[in-house]
Symmetry: C3
Subunit: 155 residues, 3 copies
């Protein structure tokens, strides 16, 4: 029997957490788009200064860094540094057949940590607040990867 | 029986699309390498100014930003913001046992959207053109993630 | 029978390599954190200048680029450009039921290539040294993706 099926509650837990994290990554892209349109700036490519539907009134300053837009890009970057690691570690974790409760705590815990990290980063809370949520998410991924290695060692 | 086998046509669809997207990510790295060598610049690290096989005639201006090289880096970054989400969402999508035709439309549609995005970005087409292909690819990933969540909810 | 189980030696090979690569990605994040704390600088967000536990003596120069910190960010970026591709290609490779020895050579070879790349980048070795290890890792991922496509074609 396969562990990677919706009949396995641990896999269902992973699928829910992973789907939410995919939505977070893709959603952050749209936040950047929204912010670029709102401030009409923070563009990254020279051709974005050509007049068009998106940019009706081009101006060279639109290519200058804009913190409102860059903040969303930094959030996106932080997601890319953490979420793909979770997606892979969580997938491997399912193969290690962990207890369901442990999987739920770790995986939903990761989702909560990243949601709170996004809140702290998006509203420019203190470095300490943001760092706490980053730390929680990162330690969960590291724990899952070590759990998989231990499960193989003692299989 | 496992869904994750080459005997499952939905998985085969995913495997083809995912392998092509992995080649796109890795290939973009080589485009950056090619462009750095061609313009002898756009380097990111101070040690790249040391004379050697790659850099026979070092010059401090080689560390300055170069749009020809940076364009490839931006394309790579855009890939990293979109393709890992597709790889994960597509994997989960297979578990939801979707109709084959739907999987083919979405997954090959994503591959086509990203290929066209690369063409539009690489040739500096208008922001609108690039944005259309980005939007198509992003919506496909979001749809697949939501489909998985719905499949679990109504399983 | 599923190929994605710890009873399949090829999958075990993948799980070990993938778990190590997840630890590499997450660990690089902590190297950046360590370096930011050590030099008290290289921060990316304006709010990091607020006084607090992490930053007891704020100074506007802390937001300026710092090569010691940026080097770790560039290493992280290079990881993100290469490791997610490996995680996905390796997963697909398992489905193609390759010979165990081939899987071990490619997957442990990738881990070794990335470890050596990190050593070369972290200690600012020559561009050529770094490029060799990058090339080895990248070609392994490309080979695995092509192997999967060939396996499907000739299935």
């Amino acid at each position: 029997m396969s562990l990677y099926t919706l009949e396995n509650p641990v896999f269902v837990t992973y699928a829910i957490a992973a789907a939410l994290m995919v939505l977070k990554i893709m959603g952050q892209g749209w936040v950047t788009v929204y912010r670029m349109i709102k401030v009409k700036g923070g563009y990254a490519s020279p051709e974005d200064l050509r007049p068009g539907r998106i940019n009706t009134d081009p101006d060279p300053t639109q290519l200058e860094p804009n913190d409102y837009v860059d903040r969303s890009r930094r959030m996106h970057r932080n997601d890319l540094e953490n979420i793909p690691g979770f997606l892979a570690a969580g997938f491997l974790f399912v193969a290690a057949s962990p207890p369901l409760l442990l999987a739920q705590i770790l995986m939903y815990g990761f989702v909560a940590a990243r949601a709170l990290h996004a809140w702290a980063y998006g509203t420019a809370k203190s470095h300490e607040t943001r760092a706490n949520f980053y730390t929680l998410g990162s330690l969960i991924v590291i724990f899952m990867a070590l759990y998989v290695l231990a499960a193989i060692l003692f299989f």
